[in-house]
Symmetry: C2
Subunit: 373 residues, 2 copies
């Protein structure tokens, strides 16, 4: 899945196991290649061994020019085509949750990152290696630190260091969408809402005022909140407002004078970041609200000709993307961007994350068809 | 004040500043001696420099036999008197809160531990040094780690290693009581009350169940709780039930599946520890409750002859002790124990902790009168 703003700790053992060089065999079918990718742990911040392997495998392809920036790898064709499309995917994962190494069960491939999004990365690597004569020029972007705070994101870094390598007419982000085109994305906002009280010894609680007890007001507001489900450019989004963290307490014998509720708002792309922040302040009127992070969404953009040709090649009805994804970064760079990739997005970040291997092959076939037609 | 079950971090700088030996001058008046004690930081776990200084000062008194156990120091007269009383105080403090070094303002002495309870310790040190021919034999106990979890408490350790040095007919704990005899103490119980939910990506919150939102049920129960104020052996206690901590949250994009509320019950000494635990389970019926720590209270015990003689020497009406104190440990060793010392107990653990210097002198005079009459 898209973003995850938690500060991920790299799994400590990945350094030890994968200090040695890893060889990727791009002649493997996409499902087997996915398994190879899953078995190189790459929790955000620890992508170097995998980035090295991807760089080495792509540098061996004579039709590609390879660019490296930190743990991001960009490979480009330069055939002088009138159009250039970007095919992008992040190579990091959320922390490992006892779900490595990869394993298969009937038609399903399990393992950390199998769904989000090493299956999409495998498809992109296969296309990069084997579609040597695409109709548009293609820029493949494999980037790091998508699952952590925005400031570390590899696409953001590339857009600052080398914006020219990200130029294009359309971006396809191969995030898990269940092999359906998902348009745009919702924005996400983090805020802290605070209650304050007065400390006292807990044996004489009436001398103080308990800020944790007062937080029930915030939680009651969240429980009764009715999220919007607006239609934007023909797609229906679904907002949400949730507590994602709470902390309070000084010591076990002290009446606490402060309680902080961390809330997360998912907002449809008809709202700007500023409007989302204003909304949160209205919801918690009377309490101190600090917006700690906000990422604007992206409108669907499916009416753009380049997006329409992809839509025709893939078929089916598009739907709204609910999670925030880096389509918003490409939208901010001025090009339409859609999400399309194998894997059920609802399985992303879950310990039993898995992907249907047939869906990986389907995505590869449809993308190959689009790029060569 | 009495207990503080938090795990206190020793202030890092105390080691550096006070690695050198400290000399205590027991000929100073009690208020000046209090200031000297305050200026030797002794956050729980970091009492060694102060314990060394106390041991050295008492070892210089020929009428006392000194016993050391960790950072606890015991000094005893051995005059063959028919009665033996214990005068006890803890030498540790809660963490420093920008309130060192000590300073005086008119008749008040400010600083970490000035009230809780280095003023009481100063009185006890003055009595130990200067009352060379007391009517009862006296055991002075200066002990460590009272402000942290029970298992580290210096009196508990002494009672296991050398119970004979704690033998006596009455214990006077020189905790801050505003120079009024306070009888017995309330018990204290820590418990964790938990709500559970189901994780999901926060962009699709409806796939999960938010455990933090559910904690409002616990907070509402706490807000509406009506504490008892029972009379026990003639003194009125005042119970209390409070959240003292709350924690929950997985990551900023995950619907949390667990929220833990830490609650603290203060219970009058007419309830046993078992009854207090049962009460908490009833209050939060239907939710998992784990009792993590419990310390029984102590009934007042003021009808004991030794306590009555102290009461007569001090004068005034006794009142109930609301905080838990180590009187409960002495009560458990089979002797009556009361609280009596300089300092307003409501200032304990507060950053602007202070003590009235006249009250220190008053306590010393009344104790000296009692021990020599």
């Amino acid at each position: 899945m898209p973003e995850a703003r938690r500060r991920a700790e790299p799994a400590p053992y990945c350094w030890a196991l994968y200090a040695a060089e890893v060889d990727l065999d791009l002649s493997l079918d996409a499902a087997s290649l996915t398994a190879s990718l899953v078995d190189v742990p790459s929790v955000s911040g620890g992508e170097e061994p995998l980035a090295d392997a991807i760089e080495a495998a792509l540098a061996a392809q004579p039709h590609l020019a390879v660019h490296r920036d930190g743990n991001a790898v960009v490979a480009r064709t330069s055939l002088g085509r009138p159009r250039r499309v970007i095919v992008a995917g992040h190579i990091d994962t959320v922390p490992i949750a006892g779900n490595l190494p990869s394993r298969t069960e009937q038609n399903l491939l399990y393992g950390c990152g199998s769904c989000d999004m090493k299956s999409g990365v495998a498809v992109a690597l296969r296309l990069a290696a084997h579609v040597t004569d695409p109709s548009p020029d293609v820029t493949y972007v494999f980037y790091d630190c998508e699952e952590v705070e925005s400031e570390r994101n590899g696409v953001l870094r590339l857009s600052r260091h080398s914006p020219e390598v990200l130029a294009g007419d359309l971006a396809v982000l191969m995030e898990p969408t269940g092999a359906i085109i998902e348009g745009g994305c919702q924005g996400t906002l983090q805020a802290e809402v605070v209650t304050t009280g007065r400390r006292a010894h807990s044996a004489r609680a009436w001398m103080g005022h308990n800020a944790i007890h007062d937080a029930s007001r915030i939680l009651d507001t969240l429980r009764s909140y009715q999220p919007r489900q607006p239609e934007v450019d023909g797609l229906v989004y679904h907002e949400g407002l949730n507590a994602v963290g709470i902390r309070g307490g000084v010591a076990s014998n002290v009446i606490p004078d402060r309680c902080v509720v961390m809330v997360n708002l998912r907002f449809a792309p008809d709202r700007s970041a500023e409007e989302a922040a204003e909304h949160i302040r209205e919801v918690f009127a009377g309490l101190p609200v600090t917006v700690t992070d906000v990422a604007q969404g992206a409108r669907p953009g499916l009416d753009h000709p380049a997006a329409a040709s992809l839509l025709a090649a893939v078929g089916g009805a598009p739907r709204a993307k609910l999670g925030w994804t880096d389509v918003a970064r490409f939208a901010a760079l001025g090009m339409p961007a859609v999400n399309y990739g194998p894997g059920d997005p609802q399985l992303a970040h879950s310990p039993d994350e898995h992907v249907d291997m047939a869906q990986i092959a389907e995505c590869e076939a449809k993308m190959r068809n689009w790029l060569t037609s």
